[in-house]
Symmetry: C2
Subunit: 306 residues, 2 copies
């Protein structure tokens, strides 16, 4: 691979940024990568583990001369960070972000950016339940999708160059329009997370009654919800607040369907249940065929014959 950007600045050093760093280094995609995190503890950790070529004590210092600045902070503070760095951006630089919501981020960030700076929002559809500077790894984006969400007037060359970076880090890229992005993510990511959080919350209430049984016997399904529900609280608070309408719409549909299934259970309508469960099985096959998950029997977690 060849260098895509001479100088990259990562603002925020959590799972997404640290995985970007390791992936850019693995693939030789960037010259120097600077990093900044608001917390001194995170900056110390980054220095200790060699995360970023240079860790800066201010965002302004980190973005100095950068060809690409990537905002890797919770969606709720993107606007503040953009306002702070805007006067210090190099003319011709590209600013991107990795927020899970695009409409609200564009609204918050775009007004701050000076003319001659290109804004190309993005959203890598990958993650783990871990967070913080130690959680990143170079392979996170391999074979996953990174959605590129150009804003009206986004420079074509700037868009293509950012896509080249993500492709270099192992990801597929697709271009989506912001509102459509936010609706798709409400289905594939935001609503599932809220539902998982809810189920774990219910079990947590009951745990006080049933002691540790909920935990001991979690391998029969519940366990998978707890993994999703262990994701970063600040990030997810901001996601729900900034993609409110699309998330609430999907949750409304979800509740409707859930009520229909509850009624089928109450009425003993086995055919309805069986048909429904057969249909949902097919979508799983689609995901495996698309290479977005493996067919390994992961509920068992440990070694298997297949």
């Amino acid at each position: 691979m060849s260098v895509v950007y001479e100088k990259v600045a990562l603002i925020g050093l959590g799972l997404i940024a640290s995985s970007m760093y390791w992936a850019m280094k693995r693939d030789g995609l960037a010259g120097e990568v600077t990093g900044y995190a608001r917390s001194a503890e995170t900056r110390d950790t980054a220095r200790e583990i060699g995360l970023c070529d240079r860790v800066c004590d201010t965002a302004v210092e980190a973005v100095q001369d950068a060809d690409l600045v990537v905002l890797c902070v919770p969606v709720g503070v993107m606007g503040d960070v953009a306002a702070e760095i805007a006067p210090h951006l190099k003319p011709g630089a590209t600013v991107s972000d990795v927020g899970s919501v695009k409409g609200a981020v564009i609204e918050a960030v775009a007004p701050h950016l000076p003319d001659g700076v290109h804004f190309v929002p993005s959203h890598p559809m990958a993650g783990t339940e871990h967070s913080g500077p130690r959680s990143g790894f170079a392979e996170l984006y391999d074979g996953k999708y990174c959605l590129i969400v150009p804003v009206p007037g986004s420079d074509r060359d700037a868009v293509d160059r950012l896509k080249a970076l993500w492709n270099g880090m192992g990801a597929f890229t697709d271009e989506l329009e912001a509102e459509h992005h936010d609706r798709v993510c409400a289905v594939t990511s935001h609503a599932p997370h809220l539902i998982a959080y809810t189920m774990v919350g219910v079990a947590d209430d009951l745990r006080r009654v049933t002691d540790s049984e909920v935990i001991k016997y979690s391998a029969a399904g519940f366990r998978d919800f707890t993994r999703i529900a262990a994701s970063d609280p600040t990030m997810w608070r901001d996601v729900f607040l900034s993609n409110k309408d699309a998330t609430l719409e999907i949750l409304g549909r979800f509740t409707e369907e859930l009520f229909a299934l509850q009624r089928a259970i109450r009425q003993g309508d086995g055919d309805h249940l069986h048909d429904y469960f057969t249909r949902t099985r097919a979508i799983r096959r689609g995901i495996i065929e698309a290479g977005q998950d493996t067919d390994a029997p992961d509920f068992g977690r440990s070694g298997s014959k297949s």
Copy 2:
């Protein structure tokens, strides 16, 4: 390990039974293991892959002289199978089952069993999203819990011997009372499955609108729901119909909590969301500390640094 039962009969040859067979063989826990499945195709597959020492064409033949008979069929047909085999059981034999619901199974099976045959229901809390005779593997039960649910008057020696078998196959065992079992499983397994099925159903409806985006971008959370929702439709139909009350109660609590979170989103109550998401994170740590899942960042699925 030494032999726990001279002759074991497995009725039904899906994921649970086939994993039991491989585990019993790995650990030398049984003399001869016979197997029976209603479908000729399943019996042929079992013979082809060497699943069971002897595959029989009838359940009656399989249970002949068996010291332990394990019913590994969907909960809804346990009663019929018990009625069929009952006159052919060896005096002193133990009958067990692996159903995910215990109250309804005990009600359906117990009346058919003759005096002098011991009934000791069980429920291994382990599984994968795969089903059928090819899906089993010896390690499925390693480190998982198998719940033993003695019925009133269950013979102590028969209970202890069945526990020894499950311990030999790598599982921990706990004894629970049937009604309590069904309530705990409604939380840890039944409600999570219905919720996952529902979320996947919603996405499947939307997929017709958004083409394959739901599948392509599934790695951001939705993917984990599809794995649960790919479980066997017949098995799960029967579980919901036979653990109706406990499942509906948990779903009622779930809906209450979901509505509270939806209201917090609508009203922009970030503190409520953040507190909730912080609390659910703790339960995940409990599961990892209890050894019921690994801390590996599984969302990434592929190699990681940790």
